[in-house]
Amino acid sequence: MMQIRLNLPPFIFDIHSSVGFVEQNMHHMYPDELFINSSRPADYFVGVEKANGLRKFIRPQASFSFDAIEPFKTLPLNHAYASLEWGINYVVANQSLQYVILHSGIVAKGDKAVLLPGPPGSGKSTMTAYLSGRQGWRLLSDEMALVLPETLKVQPFVRPICLKNKSVDLVKRWYPDAKLSTVARNTHKGDVVHLCPGDSSWQQRDDLAKVNAIVFLRYDQRVDLEITELNQNQGFMQLAQNAVNLNLHGQQGFNTLVNLIENSAVFEVVYNDVEAVRTFLEQDVL
């Protein structure tokens, strides 16, 4: 039975699990210094446990819980670690009202951040994985940008990057020494693997970054690189579609989005070459 307290700035999680490979993955994915003494109060209590019931004899299941509530249906036991990571995303997206949260990858070069919003399948996690491994770049999050209200500042929330299907092989090719989790097969997203971020991302997990650019990504195998600069109106509307808790922030949330749009370069980028996108960002945007 695993019971750990994990310091994932800006939150502390109490995590429990009776699934053996979940504990192994946690220790493989997260640096030792993030496992802290249980005397420190936790912000959120989450866990993933083997589900009870007759089904466990035929097809073992796992269930994610948050504060003793099970918000999702049970999943195959094989998905337990992935469901824990997704569950943590769910908890933060729904509970952390001190931030305006955008569904977006976010990486930074130094303290200059680039937001990479996009729907599932747009390639944002793949691009986030690629950029965060390049010299001088770091990961803030592959899933959500925690924006301090009415500022351009983003709080890092460094966690393993969720890779799906073909992107797993791409990452293995780019980073042969990358630390990867066990595979969760046949999830609703396909085969899923989590990638441990590089050391520089973990080391700078407390360092805020300032948003300089917003890039709406779309992967298209037929297009090497196509860049369109969006006007502020177009940019706002696209960004608003990726805002998770905008309605809960009222005027403050609106001001935050306006502030981001008014002070950032906004592009739509269709690509099939990650290196071309990196060159564009480094030479023309940052």
């Binding site: 502020q232 109106n233 509307m237 309605n247 005027q251 609106f254 306006v258 749009i261 008014e262």
Partner: protein, 95 residues
Amino acid sequence: MIKKITTWDVFHHETLPGTTPKVTSHSYTITGSTLLHKFSDGSGVVLYQKNTGAATGLTLDIESVLARENIDADTLKLLNQLSASGFLTPSPAKY
């Protein structure tokens, strides 16, 4: 044939200004819970309904449209849609 004029018709024709086919835009104002931002690059405005979280971008200057005496049918259709979405509210009648 001489039309019989009722008391109501007399009242209507004598007092209501809206007997011409022109459409006035004074029928709508921005609701108190709608926030508006005019983008600095001139790309238009965004309306944000803070109670519902709905946002809509417009390439026209909504404030000047609402201040106009006359508007065309397409613009009126847009204003009706914005009203249905909670961004605008009908102005109180003048009489």
